[in-house]
């Protein structure tokens, strides 16, 4: 758990502490910090006590099934929704008081990239330009050329992929320190998706900007993200670096003639133990070598360490519920 011990059962920092880490604008080491962030719609808890830390300069995959609370979280980070509890800081600004200043440094691509259809491409660029304190015309021109977007075409006449590309250009125009993408590749064909993600990696992440990308398409996350968090039913169930996750989160299949020790489930690094035929399937989330060593000391008749795909990891962490995957 490199990124902020984000599990819900981990003791959350105090609200006062959260404020202290986020009020000094621009000095925070993290692009996003949330502490106990929650949003309720009637009786539905869309986001529940979210403690999340997104390091600056990271490409952060924010994943979860449909309805997990990803968009609600993003809307709270952008000041579009008010939290019912908790606090959030973005780029060092406490959102309760500095949302406007934070937004000047954020580029945002909304789900489905809904833009003003009656405007032409050059008009919506000019319109958006007027809403930001700084704007990079050369960068916008370069991306327009890269994506081959016709300036004089009406936005409503663009394909879904082209709209997403235009939305990305509009989000990058103000040279944001943080780029928030909400399901950006949803509905795109594979080629457009690849180009879109390549652009993010090549241009944005390489420039040191932070990318916070919500998606339910795990292959997108695997392609670009270096950190990942899983949200399920409004709760954060996993947050880690991708490397740490792939190296340490494994399954160990073991058959022990003498039976499994009673405390196996409580071994450090062991997350869960399940009976599988004559043996056991052990979910390990850290200290793999130590767990393997202890198992080998029990003289197993069979021991196998099984690599897990990102999909398997998240299905496992989501409590056995299958994610909607692309």
């Amino acid at each position: 758990m490199v990124q902020g011990q984000a599990m819900n059962d981990v003791t959350a920092p105090s609200v006062a502490g959260a404020a202290a880490t986020t009020t000094e604008a621009g000095r925070s080491a993290n692009a996003i910090e949330t502490h106990g962030l929650a949003r309720r719609f009637g009786t539905t808890e869309a986001v529940a006590g979210l403690d999340l830390t997104v390091p600056r300069g990271s490409v952060f995959g924010f994943i979860g099934p449909n309805g997990a609370g990803k968009t609600t979280t993003i809307k709270m980070l952008l000041g579009l929704l008010r939290p019912t509890a908790g606090r959030a800081g973005v780029l060092g600004y406490d959102l309760a008081t500095g949302s406007l200043a934070a937004r000047a440094r954020i580029g945002y691509v909304a789900e489905n990239a809904d833009l003003y259809g009656y405007m032409r491409v050059r008009e919506i660029i000019a319109f958006t330009r007027g809403l930001y304190p700084r704007w990079d015309d050369q960068l916008v021109a370069r991306y327009l050329e890269l994506f081959g977007l016709p300036k004089d075409r009406a936005v409503k006449a663009l394909s879904k992929g082209m709209k997403a590309q235009l939305a990305l250009i509009l989000a990058l125009g103000p040279v944001p320190e943080l780029l928030i993408l909400d399901e950006p590749t949803s509905g795109m064909d594979p080629l457009a998706r690849k180009q879109f993600l390549s652009t993010i990696l090549r241009e944005v992440a390489a420039a040191g900007q932070t990318v916070f990308m919500s998606t339910h398409i795990l292959s997108d996350v695997e392609r670009v993200a270096d950190h990942v968090a899983l949200l399920n039913r409004g709760r954060l169930v996993l947050a880690d670096s991708m490397d740490h996750l792939k190296e340490n989160v494994k399954k160990v299949r073991v058959v022990l003639a003498g039976g499994a020790p009673d405390d196996l489930g409580r071994w450090p690094g062991v997350r869960a133990v399940a009976r599988e035929g004559r043996g056991w399937l052990i979910s390990v989330e850290s200290r793999l070598d130590e767990v393997r060593g202890r198992l080998q000391a029990l003289d197993p008749s069979y021991l196998e360490v099984v690599d897990m795909t990102l999909e398997e990891i998240f299905v496992d962490y989501a409590g056995g519920e299958r994610l909607v995957l692309g």
Binding site: Y108, A110, M119
Partner: protein
């Protein structure tokens, strides 16, 4: 404002046509109504209107057509201001920008108010040369005196529409709700004793009709009322979740 272009042009066109009809139909209306079955209660009012062009022009312009058209178009201008951002799903794009919600709302309100005021003034001014061309004259000063009150009262209608546009996420519903609210506000005008309490008494420049004075006090009152109603809309917007 670009999305409202058709509304702007159609409001201008409607006022132009209304001014032309007012100016050029006076001579024929009396003849057309001769022998027509006019209800007894309306006969006196009709005879008074048709007795002289100045009264006819006033009654048709300020007493009937202008406030009706203005009400319709002010609702059309205002109902989309916020509600349409939600229904066409551009609200996340707009409100995530580093501009205070109040600034965006006020710029929308101001552009609609300016368009409404300019077209209303131009339409009212246009009635004069059209009337002269039709062979009629009237004291234009009285018409000019009525404009501040008509425009200020229109701003109340616009602000009220903004309240519903913020409250309801559907422009048509916002327009309908505004129309219902205005219908309610018009109730006092149905009775002679309470007509001064109706918004439409001022929208039809009732006080100006009585003595020809601009009634700046009422103009100020309407501006304050418009500002207060607008403040409600802005307050609601600041607290609104998107």
């Amino acid at each position: 404002m670009r999305e409202n272009r058709w509304k702007v042009w159609s409001y201008a066109a409607v006022l132009l046509v209304t001014a032309a009809i007012t100016a050029f139909t006076f001579n024929y209306l009396g003849q057309m109504l001769q022998g027509a079955p006019v209800p007894k209660w309306a006969q006196g009012q009709l005879a008074a209107q048709l007795a002289a062009y100045p009264g006819y022009a006033w009654a048709n312009w300020f007493g009937k057509n202008l406030y009706q058209m203005a009400t319709l178009y002010l609702i059309l201008f205002g109902m989309t201001a916020v509600a349409s951002e939600v229904s066409r799903r551009t609200s996340s794009f707009l409100w995530s920008k580093p501009v205070p919600r109040g600034t965006v709302l006020f710029s929308k309100w101001l552009s609609s108010a300016a368009v409404y005021a300019v077209i209303t003034v131009l339409g009212t001014l246009l009635l004069y040369p059209l009337s002269l061309a039709a062979g009629h004259g009237y004291a234009i000063g009285r018409h000019l005196a009525a404009l501040p009150l008509v425009i200020a009262t229109g701003l109340v209608v616009l602000s009220l529409t903004y309240v519903f546009s913020v409250l309801l996420d559907d422009a048509v519903k916002a327009g309908g709700a505004t129309a219902l609210a205005l219908l309610f506000l018009s109730l006092p005008s149905w009775f002679q004793k309470t007509r001064h309490w109706s918004l439409f008494y001022y929208f039809t420049a009732g006080p100006v009709a009585e003595d020809g004075s601009p009634h700046w006090g009422f103009v100020f009152l309407m501006v304050v009322l418009a500002a207060a109603v607008y403040a409600v809309a802005q307050r609601l917007l600041e607290r609104k979740d998107f």
